[in-house]
Symmetry: C2
Subunit: 356 residues, 2 copies
C-alpha cells in the first residue's frame, strides 16, 4: 500500500502535513510518497526532529493556494504538488492520494487528471458525518447545480462507499429535503425522489430532514452540492456553538470546574465523537482511484486520520463495486430507453394505419 501525499495543501502546510504523515507512518502499515517543496519539508522535519528518510520525496516548486482558480491544476499550475501528486496516482505510482488543499482544484484535478469511472455523470465529494450512526453526505459542495439523474447516481455511489468502507450490507439512502412527503422540495428533489424510489439497486428510504438525519434514519444522505454544503456547515457551526456553551458552563465556578474534572474523560470522549477530524477526510466519489480531501485547516491528527481513510478506501472493494453499480445503472437506463422507444413504435404504426 503506497499513499501519495500533497504536502503543500491546506492552511497549515507543510508543518501539519509533515507531522501527520510521520504519525501515520508509525500507526499504519503503508509506505508514502511525499509531493512538495523538498527543502521546506526537510526544514520542517528537522525543526520537529522528525525522521523522514524512510519516505520518497518528489520535489515540486509550485503551490496551489486556497484563492487559486480550480482550473489552475490543469492549466497554470501543472507542476504544483497537487497536480504532480494526482498524475502519480493516475500513472499507478501509488494507491491513493490525500490533500488538504483547494477543494475546487482537487475536484477538478481528480476529474480531469485521475479521471472519473466510466459512466459516472458527475463525481461528488462525500463527507461522513459523526451522527448516531455514520452518515455519508454526498455531495457536499462540488456540484452546486445538478440534475435529477446526478442525484440518483450519488445515491448509487454513496451506497457502494458505505458498503465497502463500513460493511453495511444494504445502506439506507435518503434524500435531503424540507419535508418527508414525496411532493416536497423543488422540481429537482421531486424528480430525484421519483428516480431514487424506482431504482431497485438501492435501498431508498425517502426524504430525510435535517432534524431526523442525526438519529439513524439513513446511511447515505443525497443532496445537491449547494444544500449539502449548507447542511454540512450548519452541523459544524451548531456543534461548535454548543461545545463552546458547554465549556462556558464547565468553567463558570470553582464547583463547576471540580464537577467538570469528574466528567472530563466522558466529555472528551463526546467531543472526540463529534469531531469531524476524527473521521478522516472526504472521499471524492466516482473517481477511478481513491482521492481524499482533508479539511483545509487540518492539524496533524486530522491529516493522519485522512490518511487512515485513504488506506481503508484503497484497501476496500468500494471503487470496484461502485464501477459495477454504475455499469448496471447505465444498462438499466439504456434498457428503459429502449423499452420506451418500443412502446412508442406500435402507437406510431397504429397512427400510420389510421391514415388514409
Amino acid at each position: 500500500m503506497k499513499i501519495i501525499v500533497d504536502m503543500m495543501g491546506g492552511d497549515r502546510a507543510p508543518e501539519e502535513t509533515v507531522k501527520g504523515v510521520c504519525q501515520a507512518a508509525q500507526e499504519f502499515n503503508a509506505s508514502y510518497i511525499l509531493v512538495g517543496n523538498q527543502p521546506e519539508i526537510e526544514r520542517v522535519a528537522a525543526e520537529n526532529q522528525l525522521d523522514i528518510r524512510r519516505f520518497d520525496i518528489v520535489h515540486t516548486a509550485q503551490v496551489i493556494t486556497m484563492e487559486d482558480d480550480p482550473l489552475c491544476v490543469v492549466r497554470t499550475k501543472t507542476e504544483s504538488s497537487m497536480a504532480v501528486g494526482m498524475r502519480l496516482l493516475a500513472e499507478g505510482k501509488g494507491d491513493a492520494f490525500v490533500s488538504s488543499g483547494n477543494t475546487g482544484a482537487l475536484f477538478t484535478g481528480a476529474t480531469l487528471i485521475v479521471r472519473k469511472i466510466k459512466g459516472v455523470l458527475r463525481a461528488g465529494i462525500g463527507t461522513v458525518l459523526p451522527f448516531q450512526n455514520p452518515v455519508l453526505l454526498l455531495d457536499t459542495g462540488a456540484n452546486v447545480t445538478v440534475t435529477e439523474e446526478n442525484l440518483e447516481q450519488f445515491g448509487v455511489m454513496g451506497a457502494a462507499y458505505m458498503r465497502g468502507i463500513y460493511g453495511i450490507d444494504r445502506p439506507r439512502v435518503g434524500l435531503l429535503n424540507n419535508g418527508a412527503e414525496a411532493c416536497k422540495g423543488t422540481a429537482l428533489q421531486q424528480g430525484a425522489y421519483r428516480l431514487l424510489s424506482q431504482n431497485r439497486d438501492i435501498n431508498f428510504v425517502g426524504n430525510i430532514e435535517g432534524s431526523t438525519a442525526p438519529f439513524g434514519s439513513c446511511d447515505v444522505l443525497v443532496a445537491d452540492g449547494f444544500s449539502g454544503n449548507i447542511f454540512l456547515k450548519s452541523v459544524e457551526g451548531v456543534g461548535k456553538l454548543l461545545l463552546g456553551k458547554l465549556k462556558g458552563v464547565l468553567y463558570s465556578s470553582p464547583a463547576a470546574k471540580l464537577a467538570a474534572l469528574t466528567l472530563k474523560k466522558q466529555l472528551m470522549g463526546m467531543k472526540k465523537d463529534m469531531d469531524p477530524s476524527e473521521h478522516g477526510g472526504a472521499p471524492i466519489l466516482g473517481i477511478s482511484r481513491p482521492v481524499i480531501k482533508a479539511h483545509g485547516s487540518s492539524d496533524a491528527k486530522a491529516f493522519k486520520n485522512a490518511i487512515r481513510q485513504a488506506i481503508a478506501y484503497a484497501d476496500s472493494e468500494a471503487i470496484y463495486d461502485l464501477a459495477l453499480c454504475i455499469q448496471r445503472f447505465n444498462a438499466h437506463k439504456k434498457a428503459e430507453q429502449e423499452q420506451q422507444a418500443q412502446e412508442q413504435e406500435p402507437t406510431q404504426q397504429q397512427g400510420q394505419q389510421g391514415q388514409p
Copy 2:
C-alpha cells in the same frame, strides 16, 4: 391589546393551547379571543381546572389538520378555527393572530385573508435562531423557489423586524451561502448578492456560511425557503443530538450524576438558551398584520412564548417600518428602471440619426 388564538392547530391542541393561553393571560397584559371548538375548549379547561370565563370564545366546528392542502383555508375549510381567526384579524377585531396549525395553510391564509403589505412580492416565514446573538432566518420554508428580488426584499423585511423587535439600529443582513466570496452559490445567490450589496437601505455584510452564522456574524440571514428550511432543521437536529449525548455523559456513572447535580442549574440554563420554544414562534413577515406561527408540537410553554412574541410584534412599529421600507424599495426600483430607460433613449436617437 387583543390576541386572537387558533385553539385547534398543532399536534397537541386543544390541551396545550388552552394551558398556554391561561399561562399567557397570567403573565401578559392582553385580552384574548379563543377561536375553536367551544365544547372541547371548555372540557379541557374543566379537566385542568382552568378558568376561561374571562376569554371571548368564537366557536368553530371545522379543523385544519397537518395533512390538509394549504388552499383548504380559503376553499373547503373556510369555517375552520384558522380561517375564522384570520378573518377576525383582517377585520380588525384583534391585534395579532397565533396558530400552531398547518404551516402551509397558515401562510396561504395570511397571504390571501389577512393580505400582504402593498409592494411585498412574497411574504416569508422568519425564525429567530438562538445563536450567540438572535439571528432571524428568513425564509424558513414558505417559498421553496424564489427570485433574486424576493431575496432582496427578505433582507429589507428581516431588517425591519429586527429593528422593531430587538431594537437593533442597523441590523446586519447576511445571505446564506456555501462560501464567503461573491461568486459563490447558484445563479440565484449570485444575483441576490449583487442586489443586496447595491441596496443602500440595508446593512449587507455579504455571504454567511452555516459554520459562522452562530457566532455573531449577522442579525438577519436571508435564504430561499428550501435551503433556509434545510439550515433550520439541521440546527434543530444537531442541537438535539448534542444535548442527548451530553445527557448520556451526565448519567454515565454515579460520580457523573453527582457532578451533574452541581452543574444542574447552569446546564438547564444552557438548554433553555438553546431551546427554540423559548424564543416564541415564527412571524410571517410581509403580512399587513401580525401572524405568528407556533411550532406544530408546541407545548403550553412554547405556545405562551409565541403569544408573547405576537404581543411584542403588535406592540412594535415593525410592520409600519416594514411597509415604509418596502415603499422605498419600490420607489428605488422604479427610479432605477426610469434611469435605465432614459439611458437607453439617447442611444436609440443616435441610432436613428445614423440612419439615412
